[in-house]
Symmetry: C2
Subunit: 391 residues, 2 copies
């Protein structure tokens, strides 16, 4: 173990998560045009700069009237009003043809539906009563100037973008995508490329931008500047496991090396300059599990997103018991039906087969010796949410 | 109404969904390099082309032995075995230093951990018993040649990509991304651009590739070839609502025009050549709601994904009653806490304000007059799933 690394230890998973959650996470904001804002996270709250609507509006086609002028009208007793042109003050006894969206002139207080009026020359025969305010959108009825339109931290979807456009905005201030430098030091091609691709996909999902360096620990110094550095491979205790030394040589440091997590025990937590640096194991399953359990959590915070897994959690009964050593947080892939979760036997040294088949996973807490059969556990479901799943 | 459009009708939402689900959805497959496969949908099942592992392997560093040679060994009674070089048949009384991943030679049937043996000259003093099979991964233990590795239809994530790489694959056959031609005929800039951006984001989320045409119904003929055509705007019954005529002029047809859905009632369902064509209303909230309720469902099927909304559904008690006309499927945005859903009052003609603020939505079924206060309803939650949500 080189001078830059602390003794290989066994940090509890809970303490590793605390370390991650204590990392500063101010990557700042950037403006993006509305056309590129879908899926980004709003940085500052968006407030209405004017009342919505900004004036009284007719909400439907018809006739602007004074409601009191229609009192007593029916098809047996039509009341005649004088039709006046658009844009003039509406005096008692008058009406004005209108279309949806038209400004309501002073005096008018209701829109008579087209079928309740009949035009006869320059006059309108009103055949029904209309209530005061009917068919009219009042100034500020939707929102008042200064009201919150979209809160900070909201992922921007279709409605928020359409709303911003209707407010006359052409761009929005969103969280900058954290730059994640990925240095793949462990595996050999084509496994390296595939692991890089898998990590790049996960990084994009979590709101970051992956920048893949040369596949050597020597590339570490060139990884800065980044908002997060992932050094993948050579993290263990073997003779060629020089990742800890490489961190020191690049001027970084590891606060911790070794987490009581399986798979993923050789994870390291540290710094390269002001950027958090995570040492991840190089074998595919350990790399992917430690990304999911640890690195992804930090990245989502850096990207202004909720830290928790972007997966739904479901309660399931275990189909058989799981034995796990006390002191170790053990990650266990499972297949699920609607009531049960069946732990997948991980083929030793080939766990990625089980992970690729899994519907979800659970983590046996460090304080437990496992779970008994029939026990109800929280399963983190892989894959997207679906409205098909109702619980 | 032009000759190309059937009479403006009121198709039940359930029948509109049936029409969508009956559309052919064979957009076919394409190969993608592993580096670009994250998030894509596997087209054909992937099977193992060889046993995993393809030979007996040592799973850990240590010494390959015959387990029966260690019977009776302890630190008080070390048993001496002759150390032989790697790669030779292991005869009785012999041991061979090994590293994880090394092929197990004939004769050997266990790996003795390093701490259970001590090298003395050309010999190994064995200080512990080891069980037959310990530390050895048997040929085919992880998977047999021909076993399913990843089923068709699976969204490819990190583990599947890493597994494919470990099988020596460099690309995978995935569902082609459906090309969606979006013709924005209704709104004026900048609302058009924003609506286009919002729809493009939704289309990408649902696995499609948006191609935005000129903002005129005349652009419709140029929309082909596409896998799906969305003609947005001018879908209503007003004087300038010529979308139905434009479909006919471009050689297409509408099977239905008008769905008993609010907002979104002026939706049309039809064809442009062999591509399904949806007429969507032009005002932002109606366009977005009809995309979510109708167009997105069809697109997800075209893209090989589950048709259901990619949102989780939660059960909540209504904080107040909702009144809705019988015969109409009414879409209602709500805000939610952990137990209740509060319907948002949609400002007339400015519903996008409420949609932008909503945590989710529900659809009042056409057969109901609404829901009473306290009634338990299924709320489709907007935004991503989160493991924070446990129910």
């Amino acid at each position: 173990m080189g001078s830059g690394s602390p003794r290989y230890e066994c940090l509890a998973l809970a303490d590793a998560l605390k370390w991650l959650d204590a990392c500063p996470h101010a990557v700042g904001s950037e403006p993006v045009p509305l056309e590129q804002a879908f899926g980004r996270v709003l940085h500052a709250p968006l407030a209405f700069a004017a009342d919505r609507p900004d004036r009284d509006l007719a909400l439907a086609d018809g006739y602007l009237v004074r409601a009191e002028d229609t009192l007593g009208a029916s098809s047996y007793n039509p009341l005649r009003l004088a039709l006046v042109p658009e844009g003039t003050v509406l005096r008692a006894g008058c009406a004005c043809a209108c279309h949806a969206g038209q400004t309501v002139p002073p005096g008018a207080n209701a829109v008579l539906p087209p079928e309740a009026g009949e035009v006869a020359g320059g006059a309108l025969d009103v055949c029904d009563v209309v209530a005061r305010g009917a068919g009219i959108g009042r100034k500020g009825q939707g929102a008042r100037c200064g009201d919150m339109a979209v809160p900070a931290g909201r992922r921007l979807g279709g409605p928020q973008i359409a709303l911003a456009a209707s407010m006359g905005l052409t761009d929005l201030s969103v969280w900058r995508r954290p730059a994640v430098a990925v240095v793949l030091a462990g595996a050999k091609p084509p496994a390296t490329e595939a692991l890089g691709a898998a990590l790049a996909g996960l990084i994009a999902r979590d709101g970051g931008k992956a920048r893949q360096g040369a596949a050597t620990v020597g590339a570490l110094a060139a990884a800065a500047p980044a908002d997060l550095v992932l050094l993948v491979g050579r993290s263990g205790r073997g003779g060629d496991d020089d990742a800890g030394d490489a961190v020191a040589a690049a001027g970084g440091r590891l606060d911790h090396h070794g987490v009581a997590l399986a798979p993923g025990g050789s994870v390291g937590l540290g710094w390269l300059g002001s950027a958090p640096l995570l040492l991840l194991p190089g074998d595919p399953i350990s790399a992917l599990v430690s990304y999911e359990v640890l690195a992804g959590r930090l990245l989502r915070r850096l990207a202004g997103r909720p830290a928790d897994w972007p997966y739904p959690v479901r309660r399931r009964a275990l189909s058989r018991k799981i034995v796990s050593p006390v002191g170790l947080s053990e990650w266990v892939p499972v297949t699920c039906d609607r009531t049960e979760a069946a732990p997948l036997a991980l083929a030793p040294a080939d766990g990625v087969i089980g992970y690729a088949r899994a519907d979800g996973y659970l983590i046996v807490p460090a304080g437990l010796e496992g779970h008994s059969a029939e026990e109800i556990v929280d399963v983190v479901m892989l894959g997207e949410a679906s409205s098909q799943e109702r619980e």
